[in-house]
């Protein structure tokens, strides 16, 4: 897996050659900190390592809090600051509660950006680089509805941690897409982005309600894996499904025709581009006041790191899609978002 992501990084580097012309300050020691242990963020590690090597940084290290708790993340961030880390890309453990620690880091002169998920404005984060989760969930639901064809459309939505700032955005987006198509979201099961609760609740739901559901959309990693496995075990149920992310189980289920597709995100691109941006800000660049940021329910300084729908027709080449997206964003990132001396 690491090799795959490194390949993506090299391609991104080639695509962004112009952007890397001006090398960043080489004393940049960056930390890429997720909200807790989760396979989604694993791509940040090779991304940071590749960025450190390619941009000549002192380091861009992936540091994981042991649990999905804001207190654990805060302690880790303070510890990293004391160890000499001077730039941070953070998936906020809580969109509001995490702001105070980000301010503390900023007061020490360390640039902060949000990665994967956003802080609630106002915050010291220069911007938020992540998947437009609402849009991804919306598009995924649209794809599911298209795959379901004509007739009644009853959807079950399996999603992630309620403390994840993205979860409510996803719930709203799925509901909106369903409403537009005259479909019904008959069930939302949340807080199941961990193996045991996902296994227990998804299987319990399908055991009792498989006949009441025509489609499943999952907007978190573990529920996608568990739901794909559940549909495999149940055999021909006629239930369509669109998952999320690139877990091997999900990709195999697409190839075998068990599920229809998945919404791929770009965590490698987040780590790689985020490291580049932090290093440039440390070398004196500032965020342009008129930068063409997007916005979501949490922030008006949002940059979409890319998302794409993958089905049986393009599942083998999904890495190419994200590779191209990373290269595209990086190529004009500095010119678009930064003002450099």
């Amino acid at each position: 897996m690491t090799t795959i992501f490194r390949t993506m990084g090299l391609a991104a580097l080639m695509g962004g050659a112009a952007a890397t012309a001006a090398l960043a300050a080489d004393d940049s020691k960056l930390a890429l900190v997720p909200g807790g242990p989760h396979p989604y963020f694993a791509a940040w590690e090779p991304a940071g390592a590749d960025a450190a090597q390619e941009f000549g940084l002192a380091g861009s290290d992936y540091k994981v809090p042991q649990r999905w708790e804001l207190a654990q993340q805060n302690q880790l961030l303070e510890s990293l600051l004391s160890q000499g880390y001077n730039g941070f890309m953070i998936f906020p453990g809580d969109p509001v509660g995490a702001v105070a620690t980000a301010e503390e880091l900023a007061e020490f002169g360390a640039p902060v950006i949000a990665g994967g998920g956003c802080y609630k404005d106002p915050s010291p984060a220069a911007f938020c680089l992540g998947t437009d989760t609402g849009n991804s969930a919306y598009l995924g639901t649209k794809e599911l509805l298209a795959a379901m064809g004509d007739g009644e459309k009853r959807i079950a939505h399996f999603t992630g941690f309620l403390v994840d700032p993205n979860t409510q955005l996803r719930i709203d987006a799925v509901n909106r897409a369903a409403e537009e198509a005259g479909a019904t979201v008959v069930q939302v099961i949340a807080d199941i982005d961990a193996p045991e609760p996902a296994e227990e609740k998804i299987n319990a739901y399908l055991a009792a309600h498989a006949g009441d559901v025509d489609g499943i959309v999952t907007t978190a990693w573990v529920p996608a894996v568990v739901a794909a496995n559940a549909l495999r075990r149940m055999g021909d149920t006629g239930i369509h499904m669109v998952g999320i992310d690139h877990d091997e189980v999900v990709l195999a289920a697409i190839k075998e025709g068990i599920i229809d597709g998945t919404m791929i995100q770009n965590p490698y691109g987040q780590g790689y581009i985020g490291s580049f941006a932090l290093a440039r800000m440390r070398s004196g660049c500032t965020v342009k006041e008129d930068a063409p940021f997007g916005s979501n329910a949490l922030t008006d300084k949002f940059i979409d790191s890319g998302t794409a729908y993958v089905d049986a027709s393009n599942v083998d080449g999904y890495l190419d899609t994200m590779r191209e997206e990373t290269a595209r964003i990086l190529a004009d990132f500095e010119a678009t978002y930064l003002s450099c001396p």
Binding site: T159, K201, A204, Y205
Partner: protein, 319 residues
């Protein structure tokens, strides 16, 4: 004293009554609840959760608590999966390896508690962090996918009707644990130490050795649970065990365990697990708002514990 009155004084009577009432109530509201597939799903959840609860119960029996139950289970789980994927070990060897890790982690807890004299709460809080840290260090938060087909088949296989094979190890453990606590010296020592460790020491029981044995058993049970979860999920997820802590306390307490030690019931704890599993499933069946699920689960567990307490009070005439 009538048979019913005598029965009502047992620890398991209240949870059994609550289980029967819950099943009848939910079945009357949801016809699918007692379908064969749903029963199978329920039994799969019970198979793992019962081991998690026993892992804590044995520590509650000595009047302590083990916060590292989930971390030990998670470490054993990824050790089991990792040994098969990375080292290519056959499943029985990987299983032995994982169980030894669980046993060792538990024994380490016991040894540290005895040597330092620091409370089990503090020691297991620290080892939770250590075991979880080792887990993350090994996996880097990435699952192990290389689970052999035989293990996967075992995780999904059915023994008879809706009864999954995964339930078999749990039932064996339940019987062994019940026999150990009621009939074997080591079980009686554990309860004696939990009841009054000073008196137990004066009676010739080695308190230190008993504490270490209890923690080793706890670690072993957590490891078995971790291995079963790997078989059930068909992947070695690093986050296995992260959600075990509340359940590990809830089920024994619903089963009438005294947190101060000296009194636990294997049967009642098993029924406590059944109650929690039914409640969890009912919340899904009745489409409870996801933002309210934790609240409702907490209230229902509190109600179950309260009813059991009332039942116990009534049965003993309020003594």
């Amino acid at each position: 004293m009538t048979n019913l009155a005598r029965l009502s004084r047992t620890d398991w009577f209240g949870p059994l009554l609550a289980t029967i009432l819950a099943v009848l109530l939910i079945q009357s509201l949801s016809a699918n609840f007692l379908s064969a597939y749903n029963i199978q799903i329920l039994l799969l959840a019970i198979a793992v959760n019962a081991l998690v609860a026993y892992s804590q119960m044995i520590i509650i029996a000595i009047g302590q608590m083990n916060l590292s139950v989930g971390a030990i289970g998670g470490l054993a789980a990824i050790s089991f999966a990792g040994a098969m994927e990375v080292w290519g070990l056959p499943a029985p060897l990987a299983l032995t390896f994982a169980l030894l890790i669980g046993l060792g982690c538990g024994a380490l807890n016991g040894v540290l508690i005895r040597i330092t004299g620091i409370s089990a709460f503090v020691i297991t809080l620290a080892t939770l962090s250590i075991f979880k840290g080792i887990n993350l260090g090994i996996t880097e938060a990435q699952p192990f996918y290389g689970i052999p087909e035989g293990v996967k088949r075992f995780g999904g296989a059915v023994l008879v009707g809706p009864v999954p094979w995964l339930l078999v190890p749990t039932l064996l453990v339940t019987a062994i644990l019940w026999f150990t606590l009621r009939r074997l010296p080591v079980g009686r020592f554990i309860l004696a130490v939990g009841s009054n460790d000073h008196a137990a020491g004066l009676s010739g029981i080695s308190v230190g050795r008993t504490v270490i044995i209890a923690h080793a058993i706890s670690g072993l049970l957590a490891a078995i649970a971790g291995v079963l979860v790997v078989a059930r999920l068909q992947i070695g997820q690093p986050s296995i065990g992260d959600d075990w802590l509340i359940l590990s306390f809830a089920a024994p307490v619903i089963g009438g365990a005294i947190l101060a030690g000296g009194h636990v019931s294997t049967t009642a704890t098993f029924l406590g697990v059944v109650i929690v599993a039914i409640i969890t499933q009912a919340l899904v069946l009745f489409s409870i708002d996801p933002f309210l699920v934790q609240v409702v689960l907490g209230v229902l567990i509190l109600a179950a514990v309260g009813l059991n307490k009332l039942r116990a009070g009534a049965a003993t005439g309020g003594r």
